[in-house]
């Protein structure tokens, strides 16, 4: 894939509508010259497995890993394109999903570009290393003419510097957060809130967030509440200033019947959550989140 690392041979794909290096296939998809839905990914995968078998001892873990990540992204992209509206009737949401996947794909390509740039840098540096710069001690007649040197620091600063230079670097970590970004769906949290409210009638924010394990989930619940309020399905009751804020289900219809309609406009460009109306006090939310 890149020139460095001595990869034994590039992975070449042979498909009905495309034949050439895997790299090129990616470029074409990225440039929208080839629709991912027209690429037989199972065939690509079969060929890659065959490619690895052929390599035998020259099997390259880096290449295999990169293929896995890219193939998974392509699969995700293709599934999303082939199954429009499978998850909801809302097109805006599908678009957002597509964009998220495109972005992931774009990020992959970006990283590959930097890898190629790195190979280019190595080449430039190797070329430049053929020129040795002149850097020799100053002739004594000039050195002797220099003013007396100022060290500028004392013994304790010198010691601190020596200690710092011997500090071990942090142990290398294999980060995994790039493998998948945690995706939190506000829609799912709306459904969860509706379920809770149906059961309890009314609840405070703390109760509604009881099942959340991550901050991002609490945020999603909060956004879900705003959305439900905007749609006029819940009300916020607060008897005294800074007192407990109770969320109540006020929709006239059966909550269960609402599940399908839920989530309209969530990913649309309409970002205004209600015009007036009482919002939960921000400090209140923060206090509850912190607890």
């Amino acid at each position: 894939m890149t020139a460095r690392g001595g990869q034994p041979e590039p992975f070449v794909v042979e498909l009905a509508n495309f034949s050439g290096p895997f790299d090129l296939l990616l470029s074409l998809i990225a440039k929208h010259r080839l629709d991912v839905t027209e690429v037989a990914l199972s065939q690509v995968t079969d060929e890659f497995v065959a490619h690895l078998r052929r390599l035998g001892d020259r099997f390259d873990l880096g290449q295999a890993t990169e293929f896995l990540v890219i193939a998974a992204t392509l699969l995700d992209l293709k599934a999303a394109r082939l199954l429009p509206g499978a998850l909801s009737e809302d097109e805006a949401e599908d678009l957002a999903l597509l964009e998220a996947r495109d972005l992931l794909f774009a990020r992959l390509l970006q990283y590959r570009a930097y890898k190629e740039a790195a190979a280019l840098f190595a080449g430039l540096m190797a070329l430049e290393s053929r020129h040795v710069p002149r850097a020799v001690a100053l002739e004594s007649r000039y050195a002797d003419a220099l003013p007396e040197v100022q060290i500028g620091i004392g013994p304790s600063e010198l010691a601190a510097m020596a200690a710092r230079l011997r500090e071990p670097p942090l142990p290398p970590l294999v980060a995994t957060d790039h493998v998948h970004l945690p995706r939190v769906s506000v829609r799912e949290h709306m459904i969860a809130i509706i379920g809770l409210l149906r059961e309890l009638g009314g609840a405070d924010f703390r109760t509604l967030c009881a099942g959340c394990r991550q901050t991002i989930e609490v945020v999603a619940r909060f956004l879900a509440l705003l959305e439900l309020f905007r749609e006029g399905r819940v009300s916020f009751d607060q008897e005294v200033p800074l007192g407990e804020l109770i969320v109540r289900w006020i929709a006239t219809d059966d909550p269960a019947a609402d599940l399908h309609a839920v989530g309209r406009g969530l990913y649309g460009d309409d970002a205004s959550y209600g015009d007036d109306g009482p919002y939960p006090d921000a400090d209140d939310i923060a206090r509850q989140e912190a607890s």
Binding site: R4, K31, L103, R107, Y111, A118, A122, H178
Partner: protein, 209 residues
């Protein structure tokens, strides 16, 4: 360290190794500008910019700018073993490319180690996205950039260039020494990334998760 200074040369006879005091030369008989440039660059420890040369030698920057490429060219034409090159922010004496295999035997000691793949990739991200924060570099490479940034900083290829006005995160950029090591005069000479990044040159909004 202290070399005994040979006496002043009076004739075309090769000087003899007689240790003696350097005789101060009265300033006044000004050698040609080309000779002065050669002399000054001979003691320079890093590339010297035209402005600095002009100030130091009391000559016009324009004349120096005209003279240096000519001088450099003459070394090539004469087949000399050294070159005068404009690299990084200024001019400096280097050995000629074609002599490299022979020079190596003499200067092997102390050559810097090659950069790891991770370091090269990080360097590429910094070079093309500078000023850039660690978080952003990590986002592109998918792994923490801290260790590599430290290595690149220690090797003077990368340096802190400021802080993000919003987040306060340290921003990194490449150094003049980086240009020197790459044999470039400025960042503009970096090959464009676009051909390597088909159709997706503006991904600036990709940030760390």
């Amino acid at each position: 360290m202290t070399q005994p200074q040979p006496p002043q040369e009076t004739a075309a006879v090769p000087p003899l190794p007689t240790p003696s005091q350097p005789t101060p030369v009265p300033r006044g008989e000004r050698p040609p500008l080309a000779a002065l440039l050669e002399a000054v660059l001979m003691v320079a420890e890093q590339p010297v910019g035209v402005a600095e040369l002009a100030t130091g030698l009391g000559a016009s920057a324009r004349e120096i700018e005209r003279l240096l490429p000519r001088l450099a060219e003459s070394y090539v034409d004469d087949g000399r073993g050294f070159r005068l090159r404009h690299v990084g922010t200024g001019w400096r004496f280097y050995t000629a490319d074609e002599c490299a295999p022979w020079v190596e035997g003499f200067v092997l000691a102390g050559q810097s180690a090659r950069l790891s793949q991770a370091a090269l990739e990080t360097l590429a991200v910094v070079a093309y996205q500078q000023p850039v924060s660690r978080g952003r570099i990590s986002a592109v490479r998918g792994v923490s950039a801290d260790g590599v940034i430290r290595t690149l900083t220690a090797r003077r290829l990368v340096e802190e260039v400021g802080h993000d006005p919003e987040t306060g995160a340290i921003l990194y950029g490449t150094t003049d020494y980086f240009l020197e090591r790459m044999g470039l005069r400025s960042l503009e000479e970096l090959p464009p990334l676009a051909p390597l990044l088909p159709g997706l040159d503006d991904l600036d909004d990709l940030v760390a998760p």
